[in-house]
Amino acid sequence: MISKKETIKNAAVLLDVSEESISALPEENINAMISAFENVDVNSDGDKKILYEAIDNEWQKGSVLIILKELADNTCIAYSSLCRLDFETQKSVAFEYMADSTNMEHIYTITSRALVLIELEYVSNLTGISFDELKALDDRKKEQICGHYSMKFESGGTNVELAAELKEMVYS
């Protein structure tokens, strides 16, 4: 198994960035880098590419999260909500914030739309209804379904009743 210190050093060399910039990344991204170094056996150029992509990807994700943390600290959007966004949306939000940190209305719109879609993924998983079918519903209905899911989902429970209620909402 590879140590955190060794990973930070190796990642910095691989990406040609400073060790400090790697150390500053969220723990989750550094752990993912450790996992990539441990799991990818480099025996060919193809393997080198896979490892580079994995480390670079985590570096990008972590760097965006650092900006989002700053955004959360300066606004009332919860960091945990921003962390749940897909990476493309996180990048857009971070970009918008860097470009104009006062344009909060636009940032709120992008964030809330994306959050609805994330909940839909969980609704799809719980109900067995395909994500595409849920995505095709009108916005109002999607909001109602996701709101109901957020309020009634019990972590650790089977949520069978909730699944039945959500199905009814989808098909009503």
Binding site: M1, E28, N31, A32, M33, I34, S35, A36, E38, N39, V40, D41, G46, D47, I50, A54, E58, E121, Y122, N125, L126, G128, G156, T158, N159, V160, A163, A164
Partner: protein, 160 residues
């Protein structure tokens, strides 16, 4: 000393690779659950750590499995399963199964004893998998146990 396990494919054949690292003593259990849930993965683990690469399309399922296997509940459940030695112990989990299958305990109890036992045994074997896999495998059992259903039908005919 580390152990390597995978879903039968090499790391580079896994699509949309996501990497994660966990401190857990239940790596073997996680690997078995990923296998049972048909999730493409590659894992390298020691007694206390797990390095996991998986197809990020299955992120929700993987998160659920990891949560189950790394929770304190896991140790209790393993102990409970180990202690279950006879049919009546198994029957105690029929209400949980009924809930998952969106049916009543009464309906399950009306099915052959052999099938009830099989459902309970399967549920305890698959508890660490994601909910959808558990639901599907239990439903499949109910639908595809013709020899058991046939036996019961014959018994009913005979009784009539």
């Amino acid at each position: 000393m580390s152990t390597v396990k995978s879903s039968g494919r090499i790391l580079k054949d896994i699509n949309n690779r996501a990497y994660a690292k966990y401190e857990t003593e239940y790596s073997e259990l996680v690997a078995a659950a990923l296998e049972d849930s048909s999730i493409p993965y590659f894992a390298r683990y020691s007694l206390t750590e797990l390095s996991l690469t998986y197809d990020s399309e299955y992120r929700i399922q993987v998160e659920e499995i990891i949560k189950k296997c790394t929770s304190g509940e896991c140790r209790n459940l393993l102990r409970e399963i180990k202690n279950r030695k006879n049919k009546s112990d198994y029957a105690a989990i029929l209400p949980e199964i009924a809930e998952i299958l969106e049916t009543s305990v009464g309906i399950l109890k009306s099915r052959p004893a052999e099938l009830q036992e099989l459902l309970c045994k399967t549920y305890t074997d698959l508890w660490f998998c994601d909910s959808e896999t558990i639901r599907k495998r239990l439903s499949d059992l109910l639908m595809t146990e013709p020899h058991i259903n046939e036996k019961v039908n014959k018994k009913h005919e005979f009784e009539r």
